[in-house]
Amino acid sequence: MSALLSINDLQKSFGAVTVADASSFDVAQGEAVGILGPNGAGKTSLFNLITGALRADSGTVRFDGRDITKLPAAARCKMGVARSFQIPQPFTGMTVFENALVGATQGAGLRGREAEDHALAVLTETGLSDKANMRAGSLSLLERKRLELARALSAKPKLLLLDEIAGGLTDAECGALIDTIKRIHANGTTIIWIEHVVHALMAVAERLIVIDFGRKVAEGDPKAIMESAEVKEIYLGIAADA
């Protein structure tokens, strides 16, 4: 099985704060990987390094067989990396449909009718089709989260990065979101998902990676990881030998 994404020895610091400290891991084509870690552990920074919003100090990011460490964000998106933002960043002055159209035309490179059909399909998939003509600025939190997902999908990604997309949702909303993400994964999209809502993550992820202080501290089968002493210590503050 060849790796779609391969992170090697990635390093990034802002002054004394290290957000990525020699992290290395691979994500295979078609895999769904969950990323766990306390606040400030460097999870979102890792996404920024993968998508190109941040440049690594050293180390490499390889995607689809190519070294993309120095590529700008736009070029990475065109290769098939798309993300949702933890704090939704909708294009507030545009309609929901136009938000998706941006990804379809700029990211996926579709034109005219094809782009419009794809944008509409993505909105239907994420349950936003009845809001298509509303201004994105007038959406509720749940709708904004869905729009984040829709917009990332509109760029036709091979690798979809989800950043705390289930945070702040009710159980019912969360359940619907999990179903949507499962469907996207079943269609062959590789997913990396950062989430604090552990049950959501467990429902989708085939493998978990735990990050703390920019370092990968554990990696493996979701159940085994959740029961490991190290994860309990990081999350619950219980000493490993207690």
């Binding site: 294009f91 002055g93 159209l101 419009e116 003509n133």
Partner: protein
């Protein structure tokens, strides 16, 4: 559409129904409207808050004089040539000032405009610091009679405004315009969706600069006299333009139109008050910024879901075609 076309016809016929002073005022309004449209595209959409576009106004004006006096070009050809040259010139300037962000960018553009002003003040063949007038034979080449010339420069101004509005509108309607609007709303998300932000901004900067120089040429074709201080005036070509755009509603197509109307209504009613007029302008700007930060158009749009220019793509119920 029909109303707009009829209105345009009435305006085009102005040389037959308006007096000389009114014609001049209308011409000035069209040119300010064009400047405001261009500045709005650059600052309101591309986020390039320049306070140095007077560099291109003055450049266009001076090139009209230089190319007609020494190059023997027809004034209209000289104005177009000035626009094209300004476009080329703006590329290395962009490479320099795009390194600056936010307030530093604004100051950088101003410094650049001062460099332009000082350079043209050195050109003794163009009258140096005191400037020069357009020679009589060049003026004659436009039209024989004074009224003929004034009508022509009126039509040029009207034509320029129509072309600028049409170009800005068509650009914003295109896929590139969609990308530009995305940049306006969130640069980080736009980059993440495959939009090359630097290149998009460069495109906008070059095109607006070229058009601004053309408008500059037309402004000084009306005035027939140029001097460095008038050509590169930050007050006339940038401060008033910013006032127009901000009052009307920055980042919208309708804003500059409403702003231009408001600006000229204020100017014409308060012109006799001298400096008090500027104080009133300042007060109006402050009140609008506090009470309606998105300008008059933003206020209107928040009440009624209204668009003068159908820019947005909407999904129709029966098919996914784009439409208004």
């Amino acid at each position: 559409m029909v109303i707009a076309a009829l209105g345009l016809l009435v305006l085009a016929a102005a040389p037959w129904w308006a007096g000389r002073a009114d014609l001049r005022l209308l011409g000035e309004i069209y040119l300010y409207l064009s400047l405001a449209m261009l500045w709005n595209l650059m600052a309101g959409y591309a986020g390039l808050v320049s306070v140095g576009q007077q560099a291109y106004v003055g450049f266009g004006g001076y090139l009209l004089f230089a190319l007609t006096m020494f190059g023997g070009l027809h004034p209209i050809a000289a104005i177009l040539a000035g626009g094209i040259l300004a476009g080329f010139l703006s590329v290395p300037i962009a490479a320099l000032i795009f390194r600056l962000k936010g307030a530093y960018f604004a100051i950088g553009t101003w410094v650049m405009a001062e460099v332009f002003r000082l350079s043209f003040a050195q050109a003794s063949s163009l009258g140096g610091g005191s400037g020069s007038s357009l020679p009589v034979d060049v003026v004659r080449s436009l039209a024989d009679s004074r009224s003929g010339r004034e009508a022509l420069s009126y039509w040029l101004a009207l034509g320029a405004a129509v072309i600028v509005i049409a170009c800005v509108y068509l650009y914003l309607r295109s896929n590139r315009g969609l990308a530009l609007t995305a940049i306006r709303d969130s640069e980080v998300a736009a980059a993440g969706l495959g939009i090359n932000i630097w290149r998009t901004k460069l495109e906008v900067y070059v095109v607006t600069s070229a058009f601004t120089a053309i408008i500059g040429g037309l402004i000084f074709l009306q005035k027939l006299r140029i001097s460095p201080d008038a050509a590169f005036s930050v007050n006339d070509w940038t401060a008033f333009v910013i006032f127009i755009v901000v009052i009307g509603g920055i980042g919208t197509l309708e804003g500059p139109i409403i702003g231009t109307i408001l600006f000229f209504v204020l100017r014409e009613t308060l012109a006799d008050l001298g400096t008090t007029y500027l104080i009133v302008l300042g007060l109006v700007a402050i009140i609008i910024m506090l009470k309606a930060p998105k300008g008059v158009w933003g206020l209107i749009r928040s009440r009624f879901d209204l668009e003068l220019f159908p820019l947005s793509y909407r999904v129709r119920t029966h098919d996914a075609d784009k439409g208004a």
